[in-house]
């Protein structure tokens, strides 16, 4: 049964420009805590602006998103209620990430493990998204 919780992430930094060593180059994938967001754009979970002073651009976005985690063997089914992405494990397995819509808000999805999907969402939308997902968990349970 899916469980929703918030995962504390101390710092986040958005890095733009040329890719750096260990940054993922394939779209919609992650390498460790670095998420591909665009052809010249990455989000480093745990990273700090000062560490990327030599990048074209680095922006501290530590407070700009909260991280929710939906875990459990029916996590994908819960999420599929509000997300048009192909969430089958063959398409969205560990190491995949995607920016998309969940219900009526933007989110970055990150497959953190076989049965755990993280949702990075703007804090102002987080209460709404949590409520929506809790309702969806309830819906799948019935």
């Amino acid at each position: 049964m899916a469980v929703l919780r918030e995962v504390p992430v101390e710092a986040q930094v958005l890095v733009r420009g040329e890719p750096r060593p260990r940054f993922p180059l394939e779209p919609n994938t992650s390498a460790g805590d670095v998420l591909w967001l665009g052809p010249d754009e990455w989000l480093v979970l745990g990273g700090r602006e000062a560490e990327y002073a030599d990048a074209a651009v680095a922006v501290d976005v530590s407070a700009a998103r909260v991280v929710l985690e939906l875990a459990g063997d029916d996590a994908r089914e819960v999420l599929a209620q509000g997300c048009s992405l192909d969430l089958r494990s063959g398409s969205f397995g560990p190491g995949r990430c995607a920016q998309t819509l969940v219900a009526r808000t933007e989110a970055i999805l990150h497959c953190a493990g076989d049965d755990a999907i993280r949702l990075l969402v703007r804090p102002s939308f987080a209460p709404y998204l949590r409520a929506w997902l809790e309702d969806a968990i309830d819906g799948v349970r019935r």
């Binding site: 919609n28 665009g38 048009s84 992405l85 920016q99 998309t100």
Partner: protein, 79 residues
């Protein structure tokens, strides 16, 4: 529709915003244009029935703009 983002692949149209006709550049020297020419830039765009080169942006995804050709009579995406 499924819109092919050049970076993220096919995604549901809900993730995109539309930008109308592609290939209409901002005039190099707007001041040199007549009012009519300026109005044509501001307001007049092609509106064909059939293949149409148009702009989209993956607004809720990677935020990149791109062009594609779509048939406005059938919604088929031609590339």
């Amino acid at each position: 529709m499924l819109i092919p983002c050049p970076w993220c692949g096919e995604r549901d149209e809900l993730e995109f915003s539309y930008g109308g006709e592609a290939g209409v550049p901002y005039p190099a020297d707007p001041a040199a244009l007549t009012d009519g020419e300026w109005a044509a830039y501001l307001f007049v765009r092609a509106n064909p029935k059939g293949p149409f080169r148009e702009r989209w942006v993956h607004a809720h995804g990677c935020r990149r703009w791109f062009d594609l050709t779509r048939d406005t009579a059938t919604h088929e995406i031609l590339g």
